[in-house]
Symmetry: C2
Subunit: 209 residues, 2 copies
């Protein structure tokens, strides 16, 4: 009986570990697909970014009196459930955002949890329905670099139609070099979160909080 | 038989009229809930705005080096299916967007069709999945004005929890005074659309195109 109980205990423990690790047994998946506790700020931010496929990219519109111009774009921060936190975009200068960014790199990228489908009945502006704004510089990635090739893999894995987009539109990889992070995922105002904490989330956050 | 046929014809015609008028028999509802033909540009833009409940509001962040700062917000442009095209917001200066707007009114408001659920299999960045950016000035509406009372009705009708938001947060009505419109709803780049055409959509657009 004791052996059976121990086996049951071991099985339950294994199930628990698999559940909290997001069901992955590959060890390379730091982020769980299930919604993290909002108190695990960096982990939560990374989860929101990795589970999203699009957002609004804001740049400065020099032809609109310097107005902040938000534009709906797709993005990817990694292979599915292996996001690294840095958003990559596939943009053409036929679209204003890329043109604006090449003149003025100041930018932000904004994501809502609402379309992810995990806000329950909360309004999109309710603090319990999370939102993140990554502010920084939007830069074009050298098309021949290894980083661009990796980013294209990230993008095409989440946006399968992208690889077939018109060649003559000259889509190029852009990335947001993050400088500041604004995250709301519960009552009480924005959560303190540095770029370093965000980029290294999941490695030691459970002990750091 | 002829009379019955005529009655059937009249009934079918009535059904057709009800369908294309969005099922309304009140006569005040200009917009259909069904997705308009993308060629009816102003009508389409108004449909996208009226069928959406949230978007990203971009302002200039003076404390982030003048970066364009996008923020997820809820909005309303009217009672359900009676939208007038002007987005109203319910903002507190505890949130940065309202603070930024009071210092620098330049702003834009961006909406994607993707979360509306009518993009089919198209990627959020595919031009057939529509998106709109209204650029202009974000202004606070005098809280005691008739316009503010109307706007609160618009907002609370679509966002029922708003009326119970904390009084001490001092939420106020803001509106975007639209100056430019960027709409993509098909291949071929942004659609030409003036603010006047947008605000008066549905009245004569079917004959104007």
């Amino acid at each position: 009986m004791g052996l059976i109980r121990n086996r049951n205990y071991a099985f339950n423990l294994l199930c628990f570990v698999l559940i909290i690790s997001g069901g992955s047994v590959h060890g390379r998946r730091l982020l769980s697909q299930s919604r993290p506790d909002p108190n695990y700020v960096a982990l939560f931010a990374r989860w929101l970014v990795s589970q999203s496929s699009w957002g609004v990219l804001s740049t400065i519109a020099d032809d609109l009196g310097g107005a902040p111009f938000g534009n709906v774009v797709s993005f990817s921060d990694g292979l599915p459930d292996q996001g690294a936190g840095v958003p990559y975009f596939y943009l053409t200068t036929l679209d204003p955002s890329a043109r604006y960014a090449l003149k003025d790199h100041r930018s932000s990228f904004t994501i809502s949890e609402y379309p992810v489908g995990t806000c329950g009945k909360a309004d999109p502006e309710n603090p319990t329905c999370s939102k993140i704004t990554l502010t920084g510089k939007l830069n074009e990635v050298d098309a021949k670099s290894k980083e661009a090739a990796t980013a294209r893999n990230y993008l095409f894995a989440k946006h399968t139609e992208m690889k077939d987009w018109p060649k003559d539109h000259d889509f190029q990889v852009f990335k947001l070099d993050i400088e500041e992070i604004f995250l709301i995922n519960f009552f009480g105002g924005p959560k303190p979160l540095t770029v370093d904490q965000y980029l290294h989330a999941g490695k030691d956050e459970l002990t750091a909080i």
